[in-house]
Symmetry: C2
Subunit: 228 residues, 2 copies
Amino acid sequence: MSQKTTQKSAVRAENERTILKAAEAVFADHGFRGATTGMIAERAGIPKANLHYYFPTKEALYRRVVEHIFNIWLDAANSFDESDDPVEALTAYISKKMDISREHPMGSKVWANEILHRAPVIQDYLETTLRDWTASRASVIERWIAQGRIAPIDPNALLYMIWATTQHYADFNHQIDTLNGGRPLSEEQFAEAKKTVIQIVLAGIGAAPVALARDASAQAAGETEAAE
Amino acid sequence: MSQKTTQKSAVRAENERTILKAAEAVFADHGFRGATTGMIAERAGIPKANLHYYFPTKEALYRRVVEHIFNIWLDAANSFDESDDPVEALTAYISKKMDISREHPMGSKVWANEILHRAPVIQDYLETTLRDWTASRASVIERWIAQGRIAPIDPNALLYMIWATTQHYADFNHQIDTLNGGRPLSEEQFAEAKKTVIQIVLAGIGAAPVALARDASAQAAGETEAAE
DNA sequence: AATGATCTTGACCGTTTGGTCAAGTGTTCA
DNA sequence: TGAACACTTGACCAAACGGTCAAGATCATT
């Protein structure tokens, strides 16, 4: 009741969502060329012809998937600006990016695949939105350096290190799982990894103190007695 | 002259090398499914039927390419053990891995693609050679921690960070190039990136001192006067 | 009940792909 | 010279693929 064009759109919206979800998984598992519209349709539980009713071509469907990933990425990017303090800003940003890798591993894989193959579909995003964002955040990092709040390092290299490491937990999760005895990281293991990444980055740029195991002063961890 | 079975093998060896080189490039650019034997043959300058004379199936060819990459990886892995000192060992290892990313970007991409797609071809390597290597190096890192030579961090997370970051310069080089104005990193830029990666990792685990810009004491860099 | 619009689907088609094959060309060695 | 062997290649094939189509099902509106 009370729907006119809304009802039609509701069916469409629902079906598009189902298809996009299936497409993300299949594109992540098999890449663009490796994925077939038949596989995606099967996963979505609809005939292939129906899929082509909603998304005329495989490219159009893929583009929608990648755009969705990019929007999630942009959302995380904002958390970089939560504070002007390097410790707070980087902690928030890394934390958010790790969470995305944990919650949207398939999206990250699609993105990785796209870049790996020279970004045939989203080159324009790289040259506009991503380039602007990166340049502006690099200058923030430069300012922190000039203010003596962090060590003088190559800002881009720092950003790449953060991207690479956080996304590694999504893109290479199969390798990580295998090295973890074939099981996915537990919540505790993942939290520990996240903590380590943040710690290494912050200490690495001199934004946070480093605690050696023999240093009983800074942080009481409990493993201190292991030192011979 | 003086060749009997050598001559025949020489032709075979030469052709296999040519084909493998072409295959690495094509697999890196397009992934396993995206690559076609026709493309590889064309790139190698031979008819497709000739390629299938040397490599019966696309899978067999792919497996040979991946094995080649893995051997290069193993070579770098050895440099981890150059010294028992964390600074020396990690510097050598990171440096070597960065060099590989610079010199064999395509091999790295093939490997990334393989892991991304759940390692359908090289799962056995992950579960044997890679797992053993990782476990043994993790225990070396544990020992460094116990000895108080580095900060207490999750050893696996440290290794993943090194892998992710160094391989990022190969796997995501298209993105890096785009953010560098569409040009590949110069030798100087790459050297700077390498220096930054090593510095952040070493300082991040407390194995090397951190120099802030306002810290004129540790290392005289020249940018010190930028601090307000 | 009738109309028109949206949605569903099995059957189909042209193209591309991995791989085969048979007819060749060289090359070695007795 | 000629037989055995390794290599080369154009033509070909069955399977899989992205995409189309026409016929029907469903549903809001009149």
